[in-house]
């Protein structure tokens, strides 16, 4: 297990480095004055000159990449020249909001999805199974930002059951959760569908396995066999999918943050792109991608921990 973990961590780091470096390279090799790209259009000529000298912008690309990572490793994600503060500060104050959103979505969608999937497999071809099957496909199909818009319209603007803007009062957990409810619902809806379908299919396959028959032959109750033995194995593909799906959720989170006017990495990237604030764009992209790859890595490791067969690779 240890060796496997080590390999996967290494691979994850390699991917992050390559992905961000590629992005960085594109940004600095585009035609035009690189200081415009890196400092934004508001920088003064003096600032540009000083910047060129400081940053070694005429150095070869590889050297610049190395310098970039050097700064990153020292915790310096660049400076937001528009607001005169370190990018790291902007990014790390926004990150917790996005994480809350994503994990809230995963939590409720995974729970509901697994229950629905297990129950469907247990009661195959019942009306509940058929209805939930169609609903699952429907949930998957509907684009998350449309769901977000409709929920905002229906539950916030029209019915006024939920707030329309913001993340709630700092320090007030209840207020935070209240503001989290609708956006994480919007993001999670598609995932209920995915998870339910995968769990159902995986359960049906697992239930046909010989060791399930053995368990029943030894007198274990149907409930224990299905919801304990079979579900334990059947959850694995769902965990995999969720881990990989974090990326999709990040994209959905961008929309949710904009539709519900919440702070977060998504809003940050969007605002900085609109404002041509490139240092913030790079810094927040780095964190977003890092977050995503880390989540996928954790899901992979959890998967290997739960299913010992996976480790023999």
């Amino acid at each position: 297990m240890l060796q496997y973990t080590f390999q996967r961590v290494l691979l994850a780091l390699a991917i992050i480095v390559v992905a961000i470096s590629a992005l960085f390279t594109i940004m600095i090799t585009l035609p035009g004055d690189p200081t415009t790209v890196l400092l934004g259009p508001r920088a003064t000529p003096e600032l540009r000159a000083a910047f060129r000298a400081n940053m070694g912008l005429d150095d070869p690309v590889l050297v610049q990449i190395a310098n970039f990572w050097g700064r990153v490793l020292r915790g310096d994600l660049g400076t937001d020249y528009n607001r005169n503060r370190p990018v790291a500060e902007a990014v790390f104050s926004a990150l917790p909001h996005t994480m809350a959103l994503v994990f809230g979505a995963i939590f409720w969608s995974a729970t509901l999805g697994i229950l629905l999937g297990a129950f469907s497999a247990d009661n195959r071809n019942s009306w509940l199974d058929r209805v939930s099957g169609i609903l699952s496909v429907g949930f998957i199909a509907a684009p998350s930002f449309v769901v977000a818009l409709y929920s905002l319209l229906l539950f916030s603007v029209t019915l006024r059951w939920f707030p329309t803007i913001g993340a709630g009062e700092p320090g007030d957990l209840g207020s935070r959760l209240y503001h989290l409810a609708l956006p994480s619902f919007a993001i999670g809806l598609a995932w209920v569908g995915y998870v339910a379908r995968i769990v159902r299919a995986s359960m049906l396959e697992t239930l046909g396995e010989n060791y399930i028959r053995t368990a029943r032959a030894f007198g274990l109750s149907r409930r224990k066999v299905i919801y304990n033995y079979a579900l334990r194995v059947a959850i694995l593909p769902a965990v995999q999918v969720l881990g990989v799906g974090i990326g999709g959720m990040l994209s959905s989170a961008v929309f949710a943050e904009i539709v519900f006017s919440r702070p977060g990495i998504g809003s940050l990237i969007y605002d900085s792109v609109s404002g041509r604030n490139y240092p913030v764009v790079m810094g927040s992209m780095l964190v977003a991608i890092g977050f995503f790859v880390t989540c996928a890595l954790i899901a992979d490791l959890v998967n290997a921990a739960l299913d010992p067969r996976q480790r023999v690779k």
Binding site: G138, F145, Y150, G248, L250, G266, Y270, V281
Partner: protein, 282 residues
């Protein structure tokens, strides 16, 4: 006639989900083709007097903030959606298909390189990459297509690669090699036809995703140029004026939901029919 029942089309027509899907998709194509004919108004025509009107007999789905008829705009939007979908899927699909077959069939080192590229591309959440690229590239449909291609081709590549790998060691391939067939011939004549099944299913499932990406980008203002009646742009207008009228959003979301539902159901039905293993476990 008896034979028809067992052809793919025949079996699809027996599945109510597939029929529903095909109706929607045909509807989309027809609307796109005859958008001008069926639109009661010109989609760009502004009647400021009638702005924010709710649905009525004159304006079937109401009007937007500039008094433009929502229905006509949505009808035009279907053209954009279809265009983006077909072009983007064709390009990314072709790239993915070729790279996938090379990865699966070629030497190990090449496979590792391509696999790493696929994995790295998956590290970019789609919209986030779109936002980053939008910062650098001019607004327009070409940008949308570039973003979609970059984020999609790796998925095709992986699926095709997996198929190719499993076929590579199949007996009939070994037999062909034993008879001296060249790699190129094996790849194009034997592997390609067997790979196309999952490939087309993936493409069918990918079309709605592409349409959604374009809509999402336009919603964020980084997709089509302003004024273009893409579905996402309509939703953006609706969102900006959500407190004034709900109708723009309600109407704007409908075509997206219908189309994504339709394509997804079709992809499901295709998968049920083309994968015999799944058919049994229903």
């Amino acid at each position: 006639m008896g034979h028809f029942k067992h052809t793919l089309l025949g079996r699809l027509l027996a599945d109510p989900m597939a029929v529903f899907a095909m109706l929607i998709i045909s509807g989309l194509v027809l609307v796109a083709l005859f958008a001008d004919a069926i639109s009661p108004h010109n989609y760009a025509e502004m009647n400021l007097v009638d702005r924010f009107a709710p649905p009525s007999s004159t304006y079937w789905l109401g009007t937007d903030n500039l008094g433009r008829d929502t229905f006509s705009r949505l009808a035009q939007g279907s053209r954009i959606a279809l265009y983006v979908a077909l072009v983007a899927v064709s390009i990314s699909g072709t790239i993915g298909l070729i790279l996938g077959m090379i990865a699966g069939f070629g030497p190990r080192w090449l496979d590792n390189v391509l696999l790493f590229i696929f994995d790295t591309l998956r590290a970019y959440p789609t919209i986030i990459l779109a936002l980053a690229l939008a910062a650098l590239l001019p607004r327009g449909l070409s940008t949308v297509i570039i973003v979609v291609v970059i984020t999609s081709f790796s998925e095709y590549g992986r699926v095709v690669r997996t198929q190719t790998l499993s076929l590579k060691n199949a007996e009939f391939i070994l037999a062909e090699r034993a008879m001296g067939a060249s790699s190129a011939r094996i790849v194009f004549h034997h592997i390609l036809p067997n790979v196309l099944g999952p490939f087309f299913i993936l493409a069918a499932m990918n079309l709605p995703v592409v349409i959604t990406i374009e809509a999402g980008m336009s919603f964020l203002g980084i997709g089509v140029p302003p004024g273009t009646p893409s579905w996402g742009a309509t939703l953006k207008d609706g969102f900006d004026f959500i407190r004034t009228t709900p109708w723009i959003i309600v109407a704007g979301g409908l075509p997206l939901i219908l189309v994504t539902l339709g394509f997804t159901f079709l992809g499901e039905a295709l998968r049920d029919q083309l994968d015999p293993k799944l058919r049994k476990s229903r």
